[in-house]
């Protein structure tokens, strides 16, 4: 490692004047403006509510969902791994005994506060039994109160995997 001396550019008079470069830049922006005003715009913006985004990738981390077992019951065993892994501490789990014999424990409550969540996906990685996923594809979650953003177990379970 040494210090790399980068030669300074812009020693010619033209470059030192700066004005040609500035006018060049302004020409570029103007050409964009005119193109976009003309019949062949390059505008990439979609008119969102009316036009929906069509290029969301499959790996997009949307709102969480809790997966179900084949029997429709919650897959989660309330191991708290996700809550531990969560950097934003937005997962609140209350465990209870599972009496149906399928497993030993299950969450009594499983709340995720989306206002806290940073959508990092650490909980998904941490889950030992693939009980939590973020493949619902919901990129826009709307609520009118703060309380609306705390998703309960039921709501999480209700989220469906996004179909491609």
């Amino acid at each position: 490692m040494g210090i790399k001396i980068v030669p300074r550019h812009g020693n010619t008079l033209k470059e030192k004047l700066y004005l040609p470069a500035i006018f060049g830049g302004m020409k570029t922006t103007l050409s964009h403006l005119i193109t976009n005003l003309s019949d062949t715009p390059e505008i990439k913006t979609i008119n969102y509510p009316e036009e929906q985004p069509h290029d969301i990738s499959e790996r997009y981390r949307g709102v969480h969902r809790l997966t179900k077992r084949d029997d429709g019951s919650v897959r989660c065993v309330a191991c708290f791994m996700c809550a531990t892994a969560c950097p934003a501490e937005c997962i609140f789990i209350e465990a209870e005994e599972r009496n149906d014999g399928v497993d030993e424990k299950m969450p009594k409550r499983f709340d995720i506060d989306l206002l806290e969540c940073v959508f990092c996906g650490a909980c998904v990685e941490a889950c030992p039994c693939d009980a939590i996923r973020m493949d619902s594809g919901i990129f826009s979650f709307i609520g009118k109160k703060r309380e609306d953003f705390v998703l309960s177990k039921e709501q999480l379970l209700a989220n469906e995997e996004k179909k491609a």
């Binding site: 830049g25 302004m26 922006t29 976009n36 005003l37 019949d39 505008i43 913006t45 008119n47 009316e50």
Partner: protein, 427 residues
């Protein structure tokens, strides 16, 4: 004071108000739309009143309303609440007042009475602008200081130092312009620019004094705190600069004041360098002499222009859902344009048929000149916006270096050269 003079005065004031204050929402709109279009996106285009969006212009009014009705919040730490409230007023008022001396048209003569077409009929001219530009910095500095917020203070400091340093270069560049024109009165300056240079080039300031024009435009950017000199706001490093703590209408005044100041700068640039209210090759005398001819050209040109505008609207002003209320807008605009055409042609036609009296010629000249001025003003404002979305912000030391080491010596050298030329020509 006759009725006409009162009317003219009122019209003048209203025009000044329109050009400055009324222009503010339009400028906001232009800014946002142009920004969008330059960056390959749409600007605001949704807000509407009964389907009428005017390309998103309504959004500006909506924002205004929002600012007016928002909660006026003041942090508890702010002790100097008087100055805190005063600051935006100063910014706004000084920007607004500085617009007041711009001539929109040549002196209007009605019934032998001469009216100066300015908001405030003063002959101080460019000095008035310089004075108020100097005062406006108090608003920024007071606002930043009384906010008791270090970011605000930093912003205020930056603004203060910037304005002080650029004011010098600005004043000097103006001096060289004044040497050329031989007057400080803006009306005389514009009248001078109605001449032709070598018989075929309009003697606009930008052609006679390109260096002064360049310096003045640059410093005007700095005085108006516009990018690339908007370090006072510097949202990326000091949050929002001097207006971090402001909200609601207090913020609104800052916000509007900035656009008014921009407008005022543009108006001065137009006046000093872009021929003011003159159409190229058509100064007041020519206009008055060839008035019928020009009106005829107008009758022909206006429908043509409207027709292409209508074509454009038809093509672009569509909405996605067929049943949206906003789809009516296209038709409304077309009807409006046609109505305007009819009105203008009828009026002008009536004038032509009835024959032009001197007064009506004068009034028509004034109207045309006001329109010209408005167009030039709009163009200059557009340039402001255009530059903003092209150039990145300066670093602070670069800003000062530019001001003191480049612009100032250049301006002084320009004064020398101008003076020598003027004296040589005079001999």
């Amino acid at each position: 004071m006759s009725t006409i003079s009162i009317a003219v005065v009122i019209i003048n004031v209203i025009l000044a108000l329109l050009f400055s204050l009324g222009a503010a929402p339009i400028l906001v709109w232009i800014e946002r739309r142009v920004a969008g279009l330059i960056q390959d996106r749409l600007g605001p285009n949704r807000c509407h009143i009964n389907g009428i969006r005017l390309g998103g212009l309504i959004q500006s009014f909506a924002d205004m309303l929002k600012l007016v009705f928002k909660e006026d919040f003041k942090a508890k730490a702010i002790q100097e609440s008087f100055f805190f409230s005063l600051a935006p007023v100063i910014v706004f008022a000084s920007a607004f007042l500085s617009f007041m001396v711009m001539p929109f048209a040549d002196d209007l003569i009605i019934n032998g009475e001469r009216f100066i077409m300015q908001g405030l009929p003063m002959d101080l001219g460019v000095l008035w602008f310089l004075a108020l530009a100097g005062l406006s910095v108090y608003g920024i500095m007071l606002g930043g200081w009384s906010s008791r917020n270090k970011y605000s203070l930093l912003g205020a400091m930056r603004a203060g130092a910037q304005v002080i340093s650029y004011e010098a270069a600005m004043g000097l560049s103006v001096v060289s312009v004044l040497i050329t024109y031989g007057s400080i009165h803006l009306g005389d300056i514009v009248a001078y620019q109605g001449q032709l240079l070598f018989g075929f080039i309009p003697a606009w300031g930008i052609i006679i004094q390109p260096i002064a024009a360049l310096i003045f435009i640059i410093t005007a950017f700095a005085e108006a705190n516009r990018t690339p000199f908007d370090l006072a706001e510097g949202e990326s490093e000091i949050v929002g600069g001097f207006h971090t703590e402001y909200s609601a209408m207090r913020f609104g005044l800052f916000f509007v004041g900035e656009y008014v100041a921009m407008s005022a700068s543009s108006a001065l640039i137009v006046t000093l360098f872009l021929g003011g209210y003159h159409l190229p090759y058509l100064n007041t005398q020519t206009l008055q002499a060839y008035m019928p001819f020009i009106l005829m050209v107008l009758i022909v040109a206006l429908p043509l222009g409207s027709w292409s505008a209508m074509r454009w609207i038809q093509k672009h002003n569509r909405w996605h859902k067929a049943n949206d209320i906003r789809n009516h807008e296209s038709a409304f605009l077309q009807k409006g344009l046609i109505g305007l055409n009819v009105l203008v042609i009828a009026g002008v036609g009536a004038l032509l048929v009835l024959g032009l009296s001197e007064t009506s010629t004068n009034v028509a000249t004034a109207v045309i000149q006001i329109a010209t001025f408005a167009l030039k003003l709009l163009f200059m404002n557009f340039v402001f916006v255009w530059v903003r979305w092209t150039l990145p912000r300066f670093r602070y030391d670069q800003l000062q270096t530019l001001g003191w080491k480049v612009l100032m010596p250049l301006a002084i050298a320009n004064i020398f050269i101008s003076a020598i030329i003027v004296v040589a020509r005079g001999l």
